[in-house]
């Protein structure tokens, strides 16, 4: 493998990042080659010392994606970060997939219950229109109010749950990157 092959392969595994970030990374490796050659090493020797460009590219992508999701919070960025970390190794894949799946399930459950509770007054209104308002008894109004109240509390709980899960996800993903063995294998 020569320098060009190496940099091309590395570039191929740099994803989700803007051009400047990519250029900056590739420049640094390019400079590394230059310094190595100054010391009389051949391109293929430097390639060997650097290690697998695919592994390095994936680690750089994961690092960038997680940082990006942390700074620019969006569902898209968070998903990219999770996918990037999952791709690091088989171990990462499993220890990320299961908690991610459970977290999504938990959040969805809370969202559904919150929405269901909040639309209770609307349901009462529909019932009134369909069956006539005389059919509504005080008990219905009381229950509807109760449900709406529960819904408001649930909304707050869901909000904090999502915030807390996001914080936890970021920490967990960063920890995942830090346990990748790549940087010491040679």
């Amino acid at each position: 493998m020569n320098k060009n092959d190496y940099l091309k392969e590395l570039k191929r595994h740099l994803k989700h990042m803007n051009k400047e970030e990519k250029e900056d990374i590739l420049n640094e490796y390019d400079t590394h080659f230059y310094s190595g050659q100054q010391e009389g090493k051949s391109e293929s020797e430097v390639c060997k010392e650097l290690g697998n460009p695919k592994v390095i590219g994936k680690e750089l992508t994961a690092t960038f994606s997680v940082e990006n999701a942390h700074q620019k919070v969006s569902l898209m960025n968070i998903s990219s970060a999770i996918v990037a970390v999952m791709g690091l190794s088989l171990l990462n894949f499993f220890i990320v997939t299961i908690p991610a799946f459970l977290s999504i399930l938990l959040v969805l459950t809370f969202i559904i219950f919150t929405l269901a509770s909040l639309v209770a007054p609307l349901m009462l209104l529909i019932k009134g229109i369909m069956d006539g308002f005389h059919s509504i008894i005080l008990y219905d109004i009381f229950m509807t109010g109760l449900m709406f109240g529960v819904g408001l509390v649930l909304a707050v709980v869901t909000y904090y749950l999502i915030k807390w899960l996001f914080y936890l996800t970021m920490k967990y993903l960063k920890w995942n990157i830090s346990i990748v063995k790549g940087s010491v294998q040679s």
Partner: protein, 106 residues
């Protein structure tokens, strides 16, 4: 050398070398690989992480020949981090030493 040991110590080693003197990627890697083998290319992801988390900052300096080099230096936060890691490392090795000595004195 045990990969897990190296893994655990690499961040501290990188910060210690930079604490002594600002480093560019290649010089840093050479300093490390004089004492232990690592996949040199993966030091850069670690450096980028340390920059993003605020432990290191970078500046460019033209080299006498070839492209300008990106230097890494410790920030205040990085200096605090290296002290903390060093302290923890010492406690850790003391504990391990204790068990080694104990086993030899049997």
């Amino acid at each position: 050398m045990n990969a897990q040991f190296k893994k655990g110590a690499l961040e501290l080693i990188v910060l210690l070398i930079i604490k002594k003197e600002d480093q560019y990627g290649y010089s840093l890697v050479q300093n490390i690989s004089r004492y232990m083998t690592i996949a040199e290319g993966t030091v850069y992801p670690l450096l980028r992480r340390l920059v993003k988390s605020g432990e290191l900052s970078t500046y460019y300096q033209p080299s006498t020949e070839g492209p300008s080099r990106k230097y890494y230096q410790l920030t205040q936060q990085g200096a605090a981090r290296v002290d903390q890691l060093e302290e923890e490392w010492k406690l850790f090795t003391e504990a391990v030493e204790h068990f080694i000595e104990e086993s030899e004195n049997e």
